[in-house]
């Protein structure tokens, strides 16, 4: 797994695929039986622990001391992270929209509020890397949207690197700039989200007698630029999908036989299923 600075890395896999275990390994909560974790270019060993001051995390569920207030929980974190600024607590509560709940005991907060407080806590010490394990677990749709927006805002404003794990495809689709697919404990593929979009985009697929002539015609007459020739005689058009009949007419009028024309819509789910060999014993969630 390679994550570059400033990326939002979506770590996608089914329940039980090994996402949380991987994140626990990164954070030193588990000790690897083989291999090595490298953080910020430095290896993490039992003797050399991760630089926790540079990392903010939520693993599984943001645990809090229920008898303490939201502000007290953050204050505890502030002290243990060695931050001297007390006003960082107010700032963080404001950032995650919980300033009004600062004096409420955590046991009285809703699940969504706890998740937001967890993200706030993970950000309090201004980490360079934010590790979020299924941060929208257990949230209602409104809560999911709130948390997602919060992560996006923070990533854009603070320019921090985010590693977010999920089994929910849309969550990754809406957040990630790079996606890693894990299945049965193995990282199958890492791909930039733009490339993934390209791989997963809807397209019109044409099987033609002369792909070179067809592409020239489409470029010159229809100003089509976004297309691909994956194999001889096959054209994939990624733009102007609604004009498939016009494309067909143009090619036929200019002596290019169109043997097949179809609109293909590949989803991230399709891609994931294809990647994992169609193993659907545990369904992945596409919301």
């Amino acid at each position: 797994m390679t994550i570059a600075r400033g990326e939002i890395y979506g770590f996608l896999g089914r329940n039980g695929a090994g996402k949380t275990t991987t994140l626990r390994l990164i954070l030193g909560l588990l000790h690897p039986t083989a291999g090595q974790v490298e953080l910020f270019g430095e290896p993490v060993t039992p003797a050399k622990r991760p630089p926790f001051e540079r990392i903010g995390s939520i693993i599984e569920f943001p645990g809090f001391y229920p008898n303490l207030t939201a502000a007290e929980n953050l204050d505890l974190h502030r002290r243990l992270m060695g931050l001297s600024r007390r006003d960082a607590i107010e700032e963080t509560l404001d950032k995650v929209g919980l300033l009004h709940a600062r004096n409420r005991q955590v046991k009285t907060l809703s699940l969504g509020m706890k998740q937001r407080l967890g993200i706030g806590r993970a950000l309090l010490h201004h980490p360079e890397l934010l590790i979020l394990d299924e941060p929208t677990n257990g949230l209602d749709p409104v809560g999911i949207k709130e948390v997602r927006q919060l992560i996006l805002d923070l990533a854009q404003r603070s320019k921090i690197t985010v590693l977010i794990s999920s089994h929910i495809l849309t969550e990754i689709e809406l957040l990630a700039t790079k996606v890693g697919f894990i299945h049965r404990g193995r990282l199958l593929e890492e791909v930039a989200y733009d490339d993934l979009l390209r791989k997963n985009r809807s397209y019109v697929e044409l099987r033609v007698s002369d792909d070179k002539r067809a592409s020239l015609l489409l470029e010159q007459r229809m100003d089509l630029q976004d297309y691909l020739i994956p194999e001889q005689g096959v054209l994939r058009l990624y733009e102007r999908l609604t004009e498939a009949s016009a494309v067909n007419r143009l090619l036929i009028e200019h002596g290019v036989d169109v043997q097949e024309l179809r609109v293909v819509r590949e989803t991230l789910e399709d891609y994931f299923v294809r990647l994992t060999g169609g193993d659907l014993d545990v369904p992945i969630v596409a919301e």
């Binding site: 949380t20 275990t21 626990r24 954070l27 030193g28 909560l29 588990l30 000790h31 039992p46 622990r49 991760p50 630089p51 926790f52 001051e53 990392i55 995390s57 693993i59 599984e60 569920f61 943001p62 645990g63 809090f64 001391y65 229920p66 008898n67 303490l68 007290e72 204050d75 505890l76 974190h77 002290r79 243990l80 992270m81 060695g82 005991q105 806590r121």
Partner: protein
């Protein structure tokens, strides 16, 4: 380390376990005061040493053991129950530092607990035997209560170990109950000197002065000291090693 201790203290804020600190030492004294209330005859027939000894027996046999097991269990297992363990071990401290922080909290609690017990009993004694209380008496029992605290504290690392494996508050409750039963029913006179959970009582009685009316008497405190030192040191060291190597799994 200071920040770790402060954070451990903060975690106890609004905790019902703080009531143990207040009620644990006060309850035996309140019961004793209720019995003595308005009974001049009873006061006259009960030597002051005997009143203090009764409190020491109750504190050693019942209250001290149960409260220390409960507190240790709470301090260890709440991190698993509230799932704060994931955060706790991702702070820039070694796990052994966190462990020491928790042990310091329990030590602070333990000493406060037994000194409060001493203060409560002193108030009781001053009410009923005011003119008989000397500075030497106060100094002697102050030291004995302090030693009681240390003796009970020496059992903490072992309870800590058990709770690390049990990870549930029920485990510490079970330990507290089992210790009481074993101590009360199965320990013979010969074993009192070395069985860790009777050593505090036997040593306290030995230090105050053996009483022939009591079924507990030892000839020397040293076997008990060795027993407690062993039961303190081995789990203490084990926990240091175990915590550094322990994997924190999901739901643990």
């Amino acid at each position: 380390m200071y920040q770790l201790l402060r954070s451990e203290l903060l975690k106890l804020k609004r905790s019902r376990y703080l009531w143990l600190l207040a009620l644990g030492p006060a309850l035996p004294v309140i019961i004793s005061m209720t019995i003595f209330f308005d009974s001049a005859e009873l006061i006259a027939s009960t030597p002051v040493e005997s009143l203090v000894r009764q409190n020491q027996i109750v504190m050693n046999v019942v209250v001290g053991q149960v409260v220390m097991a409960l507190l240790t269990g709470f301090v260890v297992t709440r991190e698993h129950r509230d799932q704060t363990i994931n955060m706790l071990y991702t702070y820039p401290f070694r796990r052994s530092d966190v462990y020491v922080g928790k042990l310091l909290l329990i030590l602070l609690f333990c000493i406060s607990f037994f000194l409060l017990s001493f203060l409560s009993v002193l108030v009781n004694v001053l009410i009923y035997y005011g003119d008989m209380v000397t500075l030497a008496f106060v100094r002697k029992h102050f030291i004995i209560y302090l030693l009681m605290a240390l003796m009970h504290y020496s059992l903490v690392p072992l309870v800590y170990t058990i709770c690390l494996f049990g990870k549930r508050m029920g485990t510490s409750l079970l330990i507290g109950g089992a210790l009481l039963i074993v101590t009360g029913l199965f320990i013979t006179e010969q074993q009192q000197a070395i069985y860790p959970w009777t050593v505090p009582l036997a040593t306290t009685i030995f230090l105050v002065g053996n009483d022939p009316h009591l079924p507990v008497h030892i000839e020397s405190a040293w076997p008990g000291v060795v027993s407690l030192a062993t039961v303190f040191t081995i789990p203490l060291l084990f926990n240091f090693v175990f915590l550094e190597k322990m994997d924190v799994h999901s739901g643990s």
